[in-house]
Subunit: 459 residues, 2 copies
């Protein structure tokens, strides 16, 4: 496996991939005695996680989000409730406001859907967070994929996939105009002998589009990053096109370094076709770590996690629409050929494909879903070896998925981070400046990014 | 002046009435050497203010907000920019997220308009803040009064005054349903040997109204207060009706205790007509304090404040639409009879009414606007005497308007608070519990409040 010069030039980036909820990804683990994610309503848990991450020189804490429940329209959310499957959950933006003041260097990333906030309000909220954190905010733009989310915001159904991306593109246009174009660099004067601001440097944006009409000016003065650092996770053709255009960092799927290498290469091609540079996007994979002082201990721990895994939780999360007419889940022994689904048939097919020699059941589907997340199992040295392979495949960063809070991060920072640092695979200390400066060396989005065209555009 | 038993029974309540901006009310004062409100982008200033307030046993920090600029449609915002008149400004909700973790007892109140956030998203953001602060959130519901705000959110113009209140009533209906009705008290189990939540206790609200359609369920589990403590400021007939129905605390205008006594009495009548109790609403007046160790020192300080006062800032804030055709303000010597206004003619008339014997000018209008805010000037003892009179008129609480941050609050807490505490006019320590428990003794909105009817309504 050859490695690109890019991948070797610097350590991997590390985010904690979490959510302000009890069961984000590794369903069932909140029942472990050492798990504290059931205390997610308590801000002290999050302060402890954030400070642990900063102690380990993690780049960012990333708060995922949804604004609905998984399942079909009108579905029964029995499993969601029982498993704490992203229900209940809380708003990530106000939590990040709190965490900003208990950390100094840690990036503060969150997901927000175009469904949930009007771009004028959202732009100001983000600018405020960027002021409070002194330039450490990142945003993961999503279009929502839950029917329930649409129905919480006045829609009958989600728009079709492509039209959601078209709306997202306009949403980005609005917020770029507000962040980059509404205030000139020298408009904020704060001159006690004169003016607070120079009106000639504060511009209305007068956006008029298909989905939004926004006059402006932006109400916040320019924050350290202006546009927050931008994450994106699209994997469909349209989603990859969108990420290639807008993302500064992208989450990539794929279960092996080789698969990921292909996705990265394809997305770089999209980026270049959009006039961006091949290295303008950082690529992150999501990994769950199982750390032992010996390989045997790690494998024993893995069996323990498997025992706690909630197959039902994984099934419901897969959002396959696998439910009986009343919305309740099928019994585990139900043969897959006997069920109907209004969900994602291709995901269903890919999951069931691996069962051979007998008829797959709903239980098989749940077990397979539970194991689809990539695990990195072993001693700190073995983990470092595997991370080296991911880096060699062109991966820039890792979203560290937790089993338990805060233990999964405490363990990583205490046991894996020192080994990674010795090998040059994780930074020892933070670079100065904003999150974007730390990650890319640049204070603002670069001149090839679509936000850049609005600098000075309204003068 | 006789005092009601209600007013005598307990000390006055105190809020700091501030805004995440440079010039909130006392325009021009940011230019004072001791003023630090020009640093409002810096969260450390706000942490210092909040901790000062908590040291003085203030009940709450109240962050006002606007989501536009003052002035006519398409107007020139030269004065707004020069004076820092609520421009730039930042989002209050994420700032309160930060302040929640640096205080223990202080209430955290903020204004949010029905224009700026969808009720489904807003309800979750508030619940999250109420979790983070352990039950200290208050919300001031407003309908927005700036044309610019409407045009930031896709509207050509604001709806008419009454229709905005109708929409606000539906907005409240939606959030009450989410806060009070969506989750039963015992639905959150967090049982590691069983279920995280009981699905039978989590309800869709299926709201279908003229302005909003919201399916639910609410995504946050019940926060300590469920519905945040509710402030309201309406003074029009429709606004007073609205406050009488929904407010748990109301801001009242009026420049003397006697005027305020009448307003309070009228609003109590409205409340009773709505089936609420006469004491279900706390009434707050906004006062600016000028504190001297002698009366002479206080008066000298008052002259100093007057010298810094920005008449232009007050004029622009009055939102009278007093501007030339190009949106720029009229020169100060312009006779009022020579100007046109698309703004609030009754306010204009009330301000100009006081000029006698000569033709009023724009400058007169500005000077009068600057002095319309009620000042309480004197030694701490003299201030206590005046506050006693306000309390005797039935006032429950005071919104303390600052001249400078953080000095106005530091001075108040250091010099006035001890005298007020000796006289029983300000609490010495906080009552236990949530903000509502501290202010009213009750954990939830009382059974007469319109939110109460949704408890158990979706079972």
């Amino acid at each position: 496996m050859t490695s690109s010069p890019h991948a070797q030039a610097r350590p991997l980036r590390f985010n904690a991939f979490v959510m302000n909820t009890a069961s984000h990804i590794q369903h069932g683990q909140w029942r472990r005695p050492d798990a504290r994610q059931h205390e997610f309503n308590d801000v002290d848990l999050w302060i402890e996680v954030a400070q642990t991450l900063e102690r380990g020189a993690f780049d960012a804490l990333f708060l995922a989000d949804v604004v609905g429940v998984y399942g079909p329209v009108g579905g029964n959310y029995t499993v969601n409730a029982r498993e704490g499957l992203q229900l209940p959950n809380n708003d990530p933006s106000v939590l990040l406001g709190a965490l900003a003041t208990h950390t100094t260097h840690l990036g503060l990333a969150f997901t927000s859907s175009i469904l949930q906030a009007h771009p004028f309000e959202f732009a100001r909220r983000v600018s405020t967070l960027d002021h409070i954190s002194r330039g450490r905010v990142a945003w993961n733009i999503v279009t929502s994929f839950q029917e329930s989310a649409a129905r919480n915001f006045g829609l009958d159904r989600l728009g079709d996939h492509d039209s959601r991306y078209d709306q997202a593109a306009e949403y980005l246009d609005v917020v770029y105009k507000l962040w980059e174009g509404s205030w000139d660099d020298d408009a904020l004067l704060r001159d006690k002998a004169g003016a607070f601001s120079d009106v000639d440097g504060i511009h209305r944006i007068n956006h008029e589009g298909e989905h939004y009409r926004v006059e402006g000016p932006h109400l916040s003065s320019p924050s350290p990053q202006r546009t927050p650092f931008l994450f994106q996770a699209g994997s469909s053709p349209k989603g990859r096109q969108f990420a290639g255009t807008h993302a500064e960092a992208q989450f990539v799927g794929g279960s092996t370094p080789e698969q990921v290498r292909t996705i990265i290469s394809d997305t770089r091609d999209v980026a270049v076709a959009q006039g961006r540079g091949p290295d303008d996007i950082l690529f992150y994979v999501a990994l769950s770590f199982i750390i032992g002082s010996t390989e045997e201990e790690a494998k024993r721990l893995e069996r323990e996690y498997d025992e706690y895994a909630s197959e039902e939780g994984f099934l419901a999360h897969a959002n396959l629409g696998v439910a009986q007419d009343d919305g309740t889940p099928y019994p585990p022994d139900t043969l897959l050929r006997d069920i109907t689904t209004n969900g994602n048939r291709s995901t269903l097919a890919s999951v069931t494909h691996s069962i051979e020699g007998r008829e797959p059941t709903v239980r098989d589907l749940g077990e397979l879903s539970a194991k689809r997340h990539i695990r990195v199992v072993g001693t700190p040295d073995q983990i470092a070896d595997q991370l080296h392979d991911w880096r060699a495949a062109g991966v820039d960063g890792v979203n560290v998925v937790n089993w338990v809070l805060p233990g999964s991060y405490t363990d990583f920072v205490d046991h894996v981070t020192p080994v990674l640092q010795d090998r040059g695979l994780q930074q020892r200390e933070y670079a100065p400046g904003s999150l974007r400066e730390k990650l890319t060396g640049s204070a603002l989005t670069n001149e090839r990014h679509p936000s850049a065209k609005y600098r000075g555009a309204f003068r």
